[in-house]
Symmetry: C2
């Protein structure tokens, strides 16, 4: 979803960091959609990045910027251990190694923007997590992202890529249909009522979590691609800004934006498992480094809803 929105934005802007975007290569396990309005060359393909040789052929076009967002989600990585390590870790490693080998004559060193996740943090966490806090993932997905962060940092330190890793917050409001991800309800309790449909709330309203809009996530990726790498110092992985809100605060914002009729469509149906999983996640960060480097996200949940209404509902409430 973020990859699609990023491609659309790049196609629409036609520029990145003051340079014309001449060519877009869009790669995923299923062939990505053609973004509207782009006048340059578009290459699209369905690929399996973890398959030996695939990454090598991908880098032959020597792109200036690589955005690497591909991953299987946390639930799937937990159920299928081998697939998780293969796609989320080996895929990234193959891509980093393909860049290393293709660039070994020193004439090519692309920017490599890696989408990590706040799931690299887990377990017994402080209420607010600072930039120096240990990565203690409690899922295989978070583990794989953390391993990729380390390898990216090592390759960046060695001058093999101009790497930057971004720990994305939970993205809210996700467009589309409800899914069964444990985090799905954070979007569902906004998206469904805005569409006049009922939404289930499986957790207590005191649950606090860290979120940003899809538009902010695309903004992070674009900003990362244009940032001077020397400003990252010895730590190219950054916790992205976000908004720490409780479910109660989400619902209060929904009421301000869409009225009590929308809020009435939220039905509490407690799910002890989801409640427990979600309470194990990070609640808030102090992303001082990212803020100092010019990354920014929403500061009120009302804005996050407004972004959804603008970008997904044509700006019109029903």
């Amino acid at each position: 979803m973020i990859g699609r929105k990023l491609a659309e934005k790049l196609a629409q802007d036609g520029m990145l960091g003051g340079s014309k975007v001449e060519r877009l290569s869009l790669l995923d396990v299923i062939e990505p959609a053609l973004p509207a309005g782009f006048t340059g060359i578009v290459h699209r393909a369905a690929i399996d990045l973890a398959k030996p040789g695939v990454a090598t052929s991908l880098v032959q076009s020597r792109p200036d910027v690589i955005f690497h967002l591909a991953a299987i989600v946390s639930g799937e990585a937990e159920v299928d251990l081998e697939k998780g390590y293969r796609v989320n870790f080996d895929g990234t490693r193959q891509l980093l190694d393909a860049v290393r080998i293709a660039g070994k004559d020193g004439d090519w060193c692309p920017r490599f923007v890696f989408a990590s996740s706040s799931a690299v943090f887990g377990g017994d966490l402080p209420a607010v997590i600072g930039d120096d806090y240990a990565l203690t993932p409690q899922t295989s997905y978070g583990t794989q992202k953390a391993m990729c962060e380390l390898m990216l940092a090592d390759y960046a330190r060695r001058g093999l890529v101009r790497g930057i890793g971004l720990r994305l917050p939970t993205i809210c409001v996700r467009p589309g249909k409800p899914n069964r991800a444990a985090s799905g309800f954070f979007s569902g309790i906004i998206r469904e009522p805005l569409a006049g449909q009922e939404a289930l709330l499986p957790v207590g309203r005191d649950v606090r979590h860290w979120m940003a809009s899809p538009r902010s996530a695309v903004g992070f990726l674009l900003h990362a691609a244009t940032l001077d790498p020397s400003r990252l110092g010895k730590r190219p992985n950054l916790t992205m800004p976000g908004l720490s809100v409780t479910v109660a605060e989400q619902i209060a914002a929904l009421e301000r934006v869409a009225g009590p009729k929308a809020v009435a469509l939220i039905r509490s149906e407690h799910d002890p498992l989801i409640d427990r999983i979600v309470r194990g996640w990070a609640q808030a960060f102090d992303p001082a480094r990212a803020l100092g480097l010019g990354f920014h996200a929403e500061t009120r949940f009302d804005e996050i809803i407004e972004v959804y209404v603008e970008d997904e509902m044509g700006g019109r409430l029903p």
Copy 2:
């Protein structure tokens, strides 16, 4: 060196955590020496753990405890990137996966004691590093160790191994000949004068570093193998205790133990490169968790010298 001492200690004790040691499998890239005085079965072999299939055949004997110390050192991992990732990371991964697959029926879940390193920390560090501090390695070796820690923690969380990772301090006094490791002089300025030989000191005497004796390192590994894994909670990787000393304090201890004649054999020959590398390393830790779990190391540098004199010089100063 630590592996050899660990094997000798296990052979000598004949017991581990109240159980008789019936079988020792000693595996390294060159065939390990036969430890003296062991009455059980010893299997020794020269192996390449990273080679597909090797780990699978190793675990067929279903050992109760696996000590995994194998690694190429930091200098070599820095010079040969591919070899470093292959040996230090892939070797560990192959071993973890071999255990996972062999134990998948739930009837075997060995203890897996992994030797990590304080090299997982680097860059701009606080004067004293706590247990919650981020892993920010500034070498490929440290990166590979940190990646292994993450994978070990994930496999332990999933119940696939009873894993524990130990971040070992710099080991001092290392027996044997001088080597060209950047950290070599920390041992050399003690070992060579005790043998009546000159030692070069390439750094300023104000340099501070984190050390423990080889005897302490063996003690950490044995204690880790007998610790109740449930006491590790969600974080099975631990910074081991050590002693934070300056070079000046090392030299003062040498004078107390062996007199001014020994100290007179230390010759300062400044090496700006080594000085710079060493000043980038961690100076001190607050290993509260490990101390609480019963790990302990030397508390005065005099003890570290005395351990060397006892274990390597038959207890006699020349």
